[in-house]
Symmetry: C2
Subunit: 158 residues, 2 copies
């Protein structure tokens, strides 16, 4: 088997892994008091609600762009009620599941320019979206702890 | 090609991705003042030095265990001078590079029990180690910001 065909992980398993992270991130969003989601922060950083909206404007748009070449997705990160963020989150979950199988298997290692400005192999671009979610969710954990709220366990993804 | 042979990402590209993260984490460790690395924290959480030591006791030991079945690695996370943490980090970088090609390609999707207690497919166990690094490094960013220190850019991995 040629080296480029030996998988570390398959697309199906990677989607499962990502959706596990997204279930955890949903619990972190839900753990915030409604009045803190877009107001509380530490160290002059953004509130967690803005980070969650950023995640939403990266996940489906990245996959949609990789399939269609259309990168014109909404980038609004404006404050909104927690229930609206959770509703958008759940919609993204279903959309990701339906879009993912439409990515041609060869495309993951092809280079493209995401959002018209970020070049990279598609697998690295998708990992960047996931890693960005983990990075900011970790910051949300600190916010929750500072608010005296126990965050959901990091290792639970079901 | 059977579905289990379609890569989202290959082992070589995944190691590059991981080492990119590890270069960024090294810069975050280096950004802490020596006297804050094992003392400063927020929300009753661990100081960043303890998190960095945890990363060290997960990365090489996970890969070593996956190759050899030997899970008896050091788990010391005791405080030590920043230069010692950075030296251990650099040693791990070289060890990871030399161990990684020794993992048989088939093994990534096989189930094993890491450290005698964490069952999972090897690709998920390795992603857990990387994700744990990203998660805690994100927390280190909050600590640095709270200390008035600008963290290194998240997107720079070189």
């Amino acid at each position: 088997m040629p080296p480029e065909s030996i998988p570390f992980i398959t697309p199906d398993a990677l989607l499962d892994h990502w959706q596990g992270h997204r279930r955890l991130t949903r619990r972190v969003i839900a753990a915030f008091p409604d009045d803190k989601l877009f107001s509380f922060s530490l160290g002059g950083m953004r509130p967690f609600g803005a980070m969650a909206m950023e995640m939403l404007t990266m996940a489906v748009p990245m996959v949609q762009g990789a399939i269609s070449g259309d990168w014109n997705a909404s980038t609004s990160r404006d404050p909104r009620p927690k229930q609206d963020v959770l509703r958008l989150w759940d919609e993204s979950t279903g959309t990701l599941n339906s879009l993912w199988p439409q990515i041609p298997a060869q495309r993951f290692r092809e280079t493209l320019t995401a959002f018209g400005q970020y070049p990279g192999a598609l697998h690295d671009l998708i990992l960047y979206v996931i890693d960005n979610e983990i990075h900011h969710r970790g910051q949300g954990y600190v916010y929750l702890r500072a608010l005296g709220i126990e965050p959901p366990p990091f290792y639970e993804r079901g």
